[in-house]
Structures are given as C-alpha cells and as structure tokens.
C-alpha cells in the first residue's frame, strides 16, 4: 500500500521534471525577442483600447511607437500631451504636442426648434434610420436622435438629453477618441479644439440646403447669409454649400460672429456672460 503511493509520487515527480525540461528547451528555442520598452510604454498609455489613435488598441500603439523612430506621426488623443511626453522620455524622441480636442455636436434641432413631421418606428439605430429615409423632421441633415454615438463611446462621455432629444458631451469625460464621429451616419459630430479654459465657438448646424428651406425645417439652422463670414476679422469662417464653417485653428474667439448670426446657429461655450453696451456706458459716467 505504502509503496504504491511512493511509486506514484516518484513517477509523477519524474514526469513533471522531464516535461518541465522539455518545456524550458522549447521556450528557449522559440523565444521571440520583445523590446522591453513596449511593456513600459503600454503601462503609460491609458489602457482604454478605444482605437482613437488609429491602432487596434493601446498595445498596438505601444508597438508602433517603439518600432518607429519618428514619433511625430503617432499620437494618443486620450492621454494627450502628458502621456506623449512620458513616452518620449522612455523612447528618447521628440513628442508631438497637440491642442486638446473635444467632440462637438453640430446640431441644435431640439423638438421646439425643429418640429417633428413624422414618426419612425423601425430599429433603434441612427444607421438604419439614415439608410431608410430622410428623418423625422424636414431637415435631412440633422440629428436623428437614436443614440449611435452613445453606444459607440467607450468613456461614457456622451448621452442623449431626453428634453432636447440631442446628444450631449460630458466635457470631463470626453477624450476626443473620435469613435462617435465615426458612428454618426450624418457626420454631425466633429472633433474641435477645446480652447483655453474650454472656450470655443462653432456653427451648430450642418444643413446644406438653401437658406429658406433650412430655416423652414429648423428655427436655428444656418441659412448661409454670410454675415459671420463678412464680420470675422481673422478669415476663420468659410461659407460653402450653403453652410458656414469656423476653422478652429484660425479662430481667435472674438465672438463677433455670434453677435451677428440672425438664427443663433453659432454657439459660444464657457464664455463669461456678455456685458451690455449700455451698462458699460453707465459705469463710465
């Protein structure tokens, strides 16, 4: 009885040792050299695997960063400049610096601004809706309100507002990974410069119909009147295809365009409330 147990134990130990030796030899033979810096870089990256950098995940970006000598074409929008600087420290290259970006929803077609003319009851998906017909309102460009962007966000940073039926971006959470930009079939969401203290100005409309048609469909549509284009002192605004667009690289945040827009389609975010001119007059006196 005792000897049986002993033999079994010895046999198993011997088998274990032999197999371990074989495994060790095989591992040595087929060993793939991996740059230890890849692990280091991966540890610095955010680890969200969002794909905002254009690679399959954080590890793929780390590999690409280590492999390429030139770091300037690669950038992690989620980690931002701090992460890229830390990476550059390890890899010894020059880190690319970019302004922080944020997703901007360029549609303000709330239920009051843009009356619904019909009701869609197919699958709850903007992609399906966009492929089926023009939409629930007379504006065929605006937000469909089915939340494909919400589903696509890996950071829980975009949500539908039930009051307006439009998505709203959570500025704290948004990392500008660009997943919502790709998910929106109407290409309403755009990545724009976050601006100093979050101050930014953009045209919140993408309707390319002629002014009259756009205005009929939605009260706050861009009617391509070109007033903002004429007002802008920095040539940051272009009007093409019946739609104004503010180039955020040229915009100096002077807010002159916001004042002249007759439909209020240009939005200013995080600016202090305007002081009225009359009030200034009173203080001067």
């Amino acid at each position: 009885m005792g000897s049986t147990i002993l033999v079994t134990v010895i046999m198993l130990v011997a088998l274990g040792v032999v197999l371990a030796i074989i495994l060790y030899l095989v591992a040595q033979k087929f060993k793939v050299y991996e740059d230890p810096r890849i692990d280091e870089v991966e540890a610095i990256l955010p680890g969200a695997n969002c794909g905002g950098c254009g690679f399959a995940g954080c590890r793929a970006l780390a590999e690409a960063l280590v492999k390429s000598n030139d770091m300037t074409s690669l950038y992690c929008p989620v980690g931002g400049n701090a992460t890229m600087r830390a990476t550059a420290k390890i890899l010894g290259g020059e880190a690319q610096t970019k302004d922080p970006m944020i997703a901007a929803v360029r549609c303000n077609g709330t239920c009051e601004n843009r009356p619904r003319t019909n009701q869609f009851e197919g699958a709850v998906s903007c992609a399906v809706m966009a492929a089926t017909y023009g939409g629930e309102t007379a504006c065929t460009y605006g937000c469909l309100g089915r939340g494909d962007c919400v589903v696509s966000c890996p950071f829980d940073a975009i949500h539908m507002n039930p009051a307006t039926d439009l998505p709203e971006v959570d500025e704290e959470k948004c990392t500008a990974c660009g997943n919502c930009v790709k998910a929106c079939p109407k290409i309403i969401i755009e990545l724009r410069k976050k601006g100093p203290k979050g101050k930014r100005i953009f045209v919140s409309c993408i309707n390319k119909d002629k002014g009259g048609i756009a205005k009929k469909a939605c009260d706050v549509a861009c009617i391509s009147c070109s007033k903002c284009f004429k007002t802008c002192p920095y040539e940051a605004i272009t009007v093409a295809n019946n739609l104004a667009y503010i180039d955020f690289t040229k915009c100096k945040l002077c807010r002159k365009c916001v004042e002249v827009c007759p439909t209020g389609s240009i939005h200013e975010i995080h600016f202090p409330p305007r002081v009225k001119k009359e009030e200034i007059g009173i203080t001067e006196n």
Partner: protein, 442 residues
Amino acid sequence: MLKTFKLGGIHPADNKMAALMPIEDIAPEGKVQIFVSQHLGAPAEPIVAKGDTVKVGQLIAKSTGFVSANIHSSVSGTIASIDSIPDHLGIRRTAITITVEGDEWLKTIDRSKEIKHNITITPQEIIAKITEAGIVGLGGAAFPTHVKLSVPQGKKAETLLINGAECEPYLTSDYRVMMEYSEELLIGVLILKKALNVPKVYIGIEVNKQDAINKLKGLQSKHQGIEIVPLKMKYPQGGEKQLIKAIINREVPSGSLPIDVGAIVHNVGTAYAVYEAVQKNKPLIENILTITGKNVKEQKNLNVRVGTPLSSVLQKYGGLPKNTGKIILGGPMMGKAISNLDAPTQKSTSAILIMPQLEASRPKPSTCIRCSRCVSVCPMGLEPYLLIRLAERKMYDDLEKNLAHDCIECGCCIYSCPANLSLLDYIRLGKTEVLKIRRSRK
C-alpha cells in the same frame, strides 16, 4: 399540382379589396413634379428650361447612360422650375415642375382605342423604341427595360417569363391590367418575345386571380407561343428568382442574374407599357395606381399621370380616413412607409396603401428565442437571425460569407418573427454595406 417555388414563403391574407374596381382616368390639374431619376441607374439630364412649354409625351430629360431611362412630360403646360424637392422619403432630389395647361398630346402618339395586332418592326427597332419611351420595370424595382432586353454577349435567353403573380397583399393594379387590357398585354408579351427571340413565353398568375387566368387562357389561341401557368398562392412568388424556380424549375445561383440560367422576367404592367410604346408610340407617362386600405371608403384603381402629387390624388377621393396610422407606397410587404404626402407619384408607384392606426404600429421587439421561423420562411435560404446579429455588430466579412447580398428584402422574416425583431432593417443596412465592399473589390 399547382406550381410554386420550393424554399420558404408565407401566406399573408391577400386583402385585394380593390380588385373589382375598374381603372378610372384622372385628369391632370394644378401642377406635376417629375423626378429626373425614377429608375435604377444614372439620373436623366433635363433638356428643358424654365418657361418652356411642353406637350404630353415630350421628352424632358434625356438618359445619361446605358443603365438610365428617358423621362417624358406627362402633361402639357409650362415648366415652372427645375429644382430639388423632397420625395416620399423626405430626401431631396431634382425634379421638373410643370404647371398644367390643357391636355395637348404630341401628334405622334396614337390615342385611339383600336388594338394593333401586327408587329412589323425588327427586334433592334423594338429595343430602340422601348429605350426611347423610357420604359422601366413596373414590378417595383424600376430597372430600365431596355437593359434587360439587351442580352450580354456569350449569354442566351431561352425563356421569357411574365410576372402576373401579384403576390403582394392589397395590390390590384396588375390584376386590373390583365382584366381590362388582356389583348394589349398579350401583344406586348409577343413584342418582348420577338425582341428577345425566344421560343417560349410563360405568364405566371396566382390562382386567387382565376378570372384573369380564364380570360388570358381564352385569348391564348390567338397568340402563338404563350402559355398561362396558374401558380399556387404564396408570397413572394413575384420575386424574379422565385418565379423562375416556380415555372421552369431552375435555380439562379448566388450572385448571378436570371439571364445566367437563360431566363428573363418582366412584369405584366411592363408588357402593357411596351405594347403602348411600340404600337402606339406612347412613352411611359401614366401608371396604374391602387388606392386601398381597410378604412378607405372608396377603393380605387386609377390611371394617374406620372408626377401627380399623392395628396391631390387622395384629396380627390375624400382625403385620409380617420385613424390613419401609416401610408405606404406599394404593398404592405415591400412598400415603403412615406413621410411626405406632397411627394409626386413616380413611374413605378403601384399603390397608395392606407393602414389604420391599430395595424400600423410595430410591436415592441423582445429577444431572439432561436425558433428559426425566419430561416424556414426565407425564400432565399438565408439565416436572418444570424444576419441581424452580424449586421448589428458591423461584421461585414461574415455577412458576405453568409450571403447577405442575396437578400431580396421581401420581409418574410420580419413578418413571421414572434419576437418582433427588426430583422429586415438591419439586414438591409448590412446588405448595402456588403454590396459596397463587393463593388469596391471589382
């Protein structure tokens, strides 16, 4: 035993309430809006300008390629504008708006009721005339007819099939054409037969239209080489591939066209339009339109000029009934619910179906229980429950492997789904993506 296709299919209640209503002409009035693209393929190019006067049947937009079709004026009057207007789905497309003034037809169009039997012209001339008249398939897809008649090199048309199945519930326009224009229809079929140079023509008609079968059979002896085939009632019998399977028992392989098995399918409506174009020089400017629905007081079959606004047609017959939930252009299975009633009719518009509120809304979808009912009813042998999963997840490679591009969008899956899943919505989306990928690969 009655012939039918083998795989899948459903039996919805046929509800052909407008079947006994004779076709009525309605005179054009006010304005018409004619889209320059009413067919599959390239849009036509307008050749008239604002302020021009046109007559009925005059060419107003010229086809811009092989797969394209001419557009003719359906009324006489003045061109008011050439601009983009929203169509029935709310999407803006270029249309020619004409203010109606009188009803003056081109002199070349023969408007007499006399039936012309003799087909005197050659096959090439027939195709040229059909191209000129801008005829498109009136079965629903609006594919230019002359393209189907021009058999590509290396392929041979052996059989011509005429689709009189009208398997969609509610629709009666094809039935009315078969009843009222039987003789003209058969001559049209013979014209198509001559153009294709095929020995045999079959006209497939479902047995719920026994009058039409009897009437055409009675006239059969006068017209050589036409056989009337009664078909079992089953949706979607009128699908090209299903009709080929039912009548000549040939299967069209995945990704090929009917011509690959030597068959060509045309609709009865198209055959009638071909008769009018070839024998009477009349381009495709009118379509037979059924107004039907359970709440509709006056069921109608109308002969409407292309481009008449839907709202004006409805207004003439008392407007919309109470409790209207949905208005569908076409049949309940394949037709599209519309979002804009001011949109004009198009060449291939076959019906305005008005669904009452109770029947119109879709029940709330729940979870797939893998009952595989969708698989057993799919006439193309696909697996809709799988395709919806793949399409939802944007797995287009797998969608292609599972032949999503073979889907004919008949809606059998969504009709039979006990969980009320939006199967077709997603499959259609996936199919479009797969087709895009396949086209980019070529």
